[in-house]
Subunit: 185 residues, 2 copies
DNA sequence: GTCTATAAGCAGATAGAC
DNA sequence: GTCTATCTGCTTATAGAC
């Protein structure tokens, strides 16, 4: 039993490392040490090597984001409640500002090749998911797009600042202010 | 003549590479190819190797930022004019959104060790430089700090989004809106 | 100040036993 | 599915000639 569960735990462990160390900063030796597996065992799970591991990590993180964060936008309740729930989900997803975003990390160095399109689509999908929700609640299209863009930008920026300073307070402030900003406060 | 100038050109070339490839993604072979020097020649200029090159790059970029961007805040003219000049200087410094920020890049992977403190100070210095300027113009201290933080966050975020999507329009929008945001618009 | 040559070690990746 | 052992090439770094 639970073969898929073990695969998921393995991918999560690898994801943590890619997120902290970046693609180029992550070595197979380190992955082997941290997962408790030998390098050859990692290749059993990911025949394509480091690159395939990164793809598996990206796909898993991306799926989690859609399910845990973006799905809140389409939930029940009025607009403000759904935006607040998305904000709370973002706080959990990024571990209160302590976890980097793969969109940032994988857009640097050797990971770009092969991820460029996926990263671009991820940003667009995130922005347009928010914008669509605002539109459906009556916000004018261009305004909704701009607010959504601003909010995504502020999240990414707050994560950079948190990582550089070790201070997650600005991130939490951004999260808290997010619903009001999207509503045009 | 111009030994220092050549050293600066060399450091600028290396800086471009670190900014694009990250610390871990930058190899000495690549640096040698791009600078037109042999690896041994690079060690002549930077006996401490890759690490010393990164420090030289950071110090140079940091000095340029202080001189070209932050100095605009202390210039002549009323507050709005100085903020607009800072925004224009930021646009140039980040090449209209096409150039990554070292605060972002060096906070990932192997560069963190040895740069953590510098990066933290860089963010603090940037934020407090803006906040001080607002305070001197009569803005309440906590408000000034928050607005400055928000603006720095939005710049970092817009650079991430630009890098991930290849679209620099959000960055330019953030730059343009910056003076009004700081003035409380 | 630049070069060629080279060292020593680590990178990603594979073979084959169990 | 995991392991040990190994391969090849690239990594950082140095020695020493010019």
């Amino acid at each position: 039993m639970t073969p898929r569960t073990n695969a998921r735990i393995l991918t999560d462990t690898i994801a943590d490392i890619f997120v902290r160390e970046g693609f180029d900063g992550t070595s197979l030796n380190y992955l082997a040490n941290q997962t408790g597996l030998g390098k050859a065992s990692l290749y059993h799970h990911f025949p394509g090597g480091k690159r395939e591991m990164a793809v598996a990590v990206y796909d898993r993180v991306s799926a989690t984001f859609t399910r845990e964060v973006l799905a809140r936008l389409a939930g029940r309740g009025d607009l403000e409640l759904r935006l607040t729930r998305m904000a709370q989900a973002l706080d959990r997803f990024y571990d209160g500002g302590n976890r980097a975003c793969l969109i940032d990390v994988f857009s640097i160095g050797g990971a770009r090749e092969g991820f460029a399109e996926k990263l671009s689509e991820a940003v667009s999908y995130w922005v347009s998911s928010i914008a669509r929700t605002l539109c459906e609640a009556g916000v004018e299209k261009a305004t909704a797009q701009m607010r959504a863009e601003d909010v995504v930008i502020s999240i990414e920026g707050a994560l950079v600042v948190a990582r550089a300073t070790g201070n997650t307070e600005p991130f939490r402030r951004i999260i808290e202010a997010m619903p009001a900003r999207l509503l045009g406060g």
